[in-house]
């Protein structure tokens, strides 16, 4: 699947970006978790969104999403796992799909999630961020799933369905993964289980993990006034660029990022089509 601008994140920043990309005549594809999993969904009342005081987070999000849909944005449910620029195009993997775009806007919110002890050490040796990718390698074996969302619970069910003995850890706070050569056990909030694999399914990957080489500043994505990041054709908007973590600020930055991405495409018209076909094979 390919588009002009791929937007990672379906909150206020991402949806505002999508509306403004469409307003510039470009196609927009928004990759996001279900709307109900957005942290804003649980806000009971927002009083500082200009002109519309007193709405709940769910009401605002629903209105934003409807606006983006009516503007012609397309949606793809899931979590972005890898991103890379090859030739003139960005490629982003979401589950078993690869999406291709001329420009990308990162609007994934604050990717909380300090890594757990053992997480980095055992990455690729039992620790995985992708149930769809690696689940089959653990058929008939015992796996732990650390999840924070309903989507993650769905992935745990997927693992159970393909024949993994699946242990679900619901929104764990502190975990430690240990073993010798590979993962052998995981301890979360005092509960220890033997497991051959630990699937860590946070709502979003930290920006610098998703985009290797991305410049950060005080833990947030470094951007200029045009919301351009340090990587070509990659823009960022919303909470991932820093505070204040407010809807108005996110929507405003989404607008700038959307317009900047559209302008970037106009200035780089020679997007090649050749690598796209190779990826699809």
């Amino acid at each position: 699947m390919s588009c002009d601008v791929l937007v990672i994140g379906g909150g206020p920043a991402g949806l505002s970006a999508a509306v403004n990309i469409r307003a510039r005549g470009k196609s927009a594809l928004v990759v996001s978790n279900p709307l109900e999993e957005n942290p804003l969904w649980k806000s009971e009342r927002i009083d500082n969104y200009l002109g519309l005081p007193g709405l709940s987070g769910a009401e605002l999000l629903t209105a934003f999403r409807t606006h983006a849909e009516r503007a012609g944005a397309e949606f793809h449910s899931g979590r972005a796992l890898n991103a890379a620029m090859t030739g003139d195009s960005w490629y982003v993997s979401v589950g078993s799909d690869v999406l291709e775009a001329k420009a990308v806007i990162l609007a994934g919110g604050v990717a909380r999630g300090k890594k757990f002890p053992g997480e980095e050490e055992f990455l690729g040796r039992g620790v995985s961020y992708c149930a769809t990718c690696d689940g089959m390698l653990y058929r008939g074996r015992r796996v732990a799933v650390l999840g924070w969302t309903e989507s993650a619970r769905g992935e745990a069910e997927f693992l159970r369905g393909i024949g993994c003995e699946t242990l679900w850890f619901d929104r764990p706070r502190t975990c430690e993964i240990s073993g010798s050569q590979t993962v052998e056990r995981v301890t979360c909030d005092g509960r220890t289980e033997q497991a051959d694999a630990v699937f860590i399914l946070r709502p979003a990957l930290p920006p610098a993990d998703l985009f290797p080489g991305l410049a950060m500043e005080n833990g947030f994505v470094a951007v200029d006034r045009q919301m351009a990041t340090s990587l070509p054709g990659l823009f960022a908007a919303g909470d991932c660029t820093g505070g204040p973590l407010q809807v108005s600020k996110a929507a405003g930055e989404g607008l700038i990022a959307g317009q900047s991405a559209a302008r970037w495409i106009d200035r780089h018209p020679d997007q090649t089509e050749k690598t796209k076909d190779e990826i699809k094979k």
Binding site: L81, N82, A84, T86, Y91, S93, V94, G95, S96, D97, V98, L123, G124, R125, G126, V127, S128, C130, T132, C133, D134, M136, L137, T182, A197, P212, T275, E278, I279, K281
Partner: protein
Amino acid sequence: MALQHFKTSEFDAAVEAAPLAMVDFWASWCGPCKMLSPTIEALAGQYDGKVLVGKVNVDEEPDLARRVGVMSIPTVVFLKNGREFDRKVGVMPAGAFTAVLDGNL
């Protein structure tokens, strides 16, 4: 030599005969594997005649994947005459692979 697609039965003999080999373990259900695929294909061309570059579909060759200790895909394993000396897990730029190959040619 173009990119090779190995079955379990032919894998050992092929990599043992190669002074330097690079093998990508992948599957069709894996998005990151699809992203890495063009890079591996390009490297097969670039190192033609110097490095044996191959792929193993873990869905079709699960026993081989288990024996090699593939725990996450994509995994790219580097071997000298059949002995593994390095591996890279996950999507990486071409430079991560050429650094290993150039240092061992």
